[in-house]
Structures are given as C-alpha cells and as structure tokens.
Symmetry: C2
Subunit: 202 residues, 2 copies
Amino acid sequence: MKINKESIQTMETRYRTNLINSLSGPRVAHLIGTVSESGAENLAIFSSVFHLGADPALLGMISRPDRVERHTLENIRETGVYTVNLVTADLFEKAHQTSARYPGGVSEFEAVGLTSEIVDDWGAPCVRESPLKMALKFREEVPIELNGTHLIIGEIMEIHVDGGIIDAEGRVDVFSLDPIVCVGLDTYGTVVRAGRLPYAKP
Amino acid sequence: MKINKESIQTMETRYRTNLINSLSGPRVAHLIGTVSESGAENLAIFSSVFHLGADPALLGMISRPDRVERHTLENIRETGVYTVNLVTADLFEKAHQTSARYPGGVSEFEAVGLTSEIVDDWGAPCVRESPLKMALKFREEVPIELNGTHLIIGEIMEIHVDGGIIDAEGRVDVFSLDPIVCVGLDTYGTVVRAGRLPYAKP
C-alpha cells in the first residue's frame, strides 16, 4: 500500500507514532545510566544510540522532549558523564520497565531490579548485569529545531567487555552477547549472526 | 576486559575502526537511492538511519566524510530528495556490494544487480526488490564539527509497504520482512521477533 504525507499528517496521533516509529526498522536497545548533582541515580532505555565515529570514539543518541528522557538529559548536562549498557535478551523486560514514569526520587535500578555499579571513576552508574558497558564523557548537545529533540554526543572513555569475543582485527562479536533490538515502541526481537562479507571491491 | 581512552587512541587504525564500529551493537541496514542533477543514479548502503520523530515524520542519517557516502550527500544537496529502502535477508549481499568504490559514472543499481524504480514523482530512484521503501524530502543538514560527519535529516513524504503487516494501532511488523542488521563494518545478522510488552507503568 501507498501512504503519503497528507495521510500521515491526518492520522490519529497514537497510530502515527506507532507507524513512524516502526518504519525505521530494528534498533538496538541500550540502558543509559546517569546520576543527578544531588546523587539521585537514573536509568532509562534508549533505542537511538548510534555510532558516530571511531577517532575520537563517539556515540550519538537522540533525547526526545518528554519527561522520562529529560531526567537523563538533565543529569548528563549537570554531571557531564553517563554510561551506555547493551540490553541483552535476559534483560529486555527490565529495560522496558525503566520507561515507566517513576517519580524523580525513585531509582529505576531498584524499581526494575537491576544492579547499579560504579566502576572506577566513571562518575555515573552502569548496569552490572550488562555484558557490554561503556563510560562516556558528554561532548556536545545539538538541538534539532525541526522537532525539539536533542542530539547528545559523547566520547567513549572506557569499555568493559569480555576480551574473548574481540577478534584479532578488533571486531567485537556482539551477536554472542544476545543483544535485543526493538521495532516501534514496544516490540522486541533477538538477533542471529548471518555471516561476514569481504571488503567490497568493484 | 577493560579498555580505556588511552588504549583506544593508540590502537592501529583498522583495529580501532572495527572495535568502535562494533560496540554500538546491531544496526539496521538501508539502501539510500539518489540521483545527481545530471541524471546519474547512485545507491549506497547506510547503517545509520534512525527515527528522529513522528510528527513531522523525520529520519536522520549520518554521512561520513568519505568518497562513497559523499556521492549520496552531494546528490541529496543537489536534488533535495532521496529514498530509504530496507535491506532484507535476500538483499544484503548486493547491498554490501554497493560499498565498493565504483567510478562516478557507474550506477550501483546495475553494478550489484538491483532494480532502479522511479515511483510516481519521488524524484529519486528506489529499490524495487525492497519491501519497505520510503521517499524522503531533504529537510536539514547538521554538520558535526567534532569529527566532520554530517547529520542529514529528511521528512518521509511517501511510504510503500504491504498494508497487511500494519496492525490496527499502526505498528508495522517489520520482523515479517526479514530485515538485516549489521555489527561493525562487515558482519550481518537476521532478526527474530521476541514479543511485545505492554506500556510500562510504575
């Protein structure tokens, strides 16, 4: 079927949100760990973390202008640090539950049953149960004026992962960690390695 | 194992590129179809297309400062339109092959064996074989000064997809299309639906 801009604009809001969120396809799920200046920990699921560059090692993520993600954004602005934790198949139900609108004083770690861990001097809590955790330093915030979202850019300062899944050329076999992807707002999936292709030449 | 910023910075370039590209986890693969002002068609695989907002319906993608992706970026700047085509399991080897450095006059559609199709007045070619195609209008380019990449933002003007996989609330069952994800630069995977979770409440 064909859906054009006019029909997108006249859709019922919830229908449009589900439709457009699904269209971009599967997105990897991460848990973002932060802490406020006053010490209140926060944990939130994001499906918009993406690779932005290797040198320096940068990740981007999109923060929407809503209440849940605002806690994360405010904490990152205040403290300048956050953690990015891969969501795996055994964690996705707890990760999804972090999207509930808990009051400001409630730690989502405790509320959903995940373990907050401060590693070395990261300054922000990570998720002990995640097998791929990264400490990031906030580098830049880019406001997207078209829709009020914010692109948050951070630099990877430290990585915790099983060294046994990194091959001789630096590839991390993330498939072996059983990562979770989501489609739209509420549908999750697992990922199965299909194969590696050689560098493409004409 | 623990990998810190200092060891990332001193890694051999190719090793670092593989490592950091893998860390963000599985990324959905899309083919971006464009045409130059002079009529030369271009097709390029991107693994950085992401949902940016539903109203207006916006997709973002990252264009790196390299030669292959520059053709896509230049065409989008020239014509203001492009197509985003989901890569499915039966298409990923051809999609990967578009990353080869073909000369400017060569159409990747022909070179890799995919069919260029102009739908209605989209103004840019889409991939006939893809079951989820979108026509986008270029809305904004955001230069990321930290590393010379560009965030390209486009608005979804038209969608072609099987209406039978859209549920009553607007969710598109993208899992049924057998989408492909990639980890790092060269490793691909398939995706399996795990389940839908209810809206989270405290």
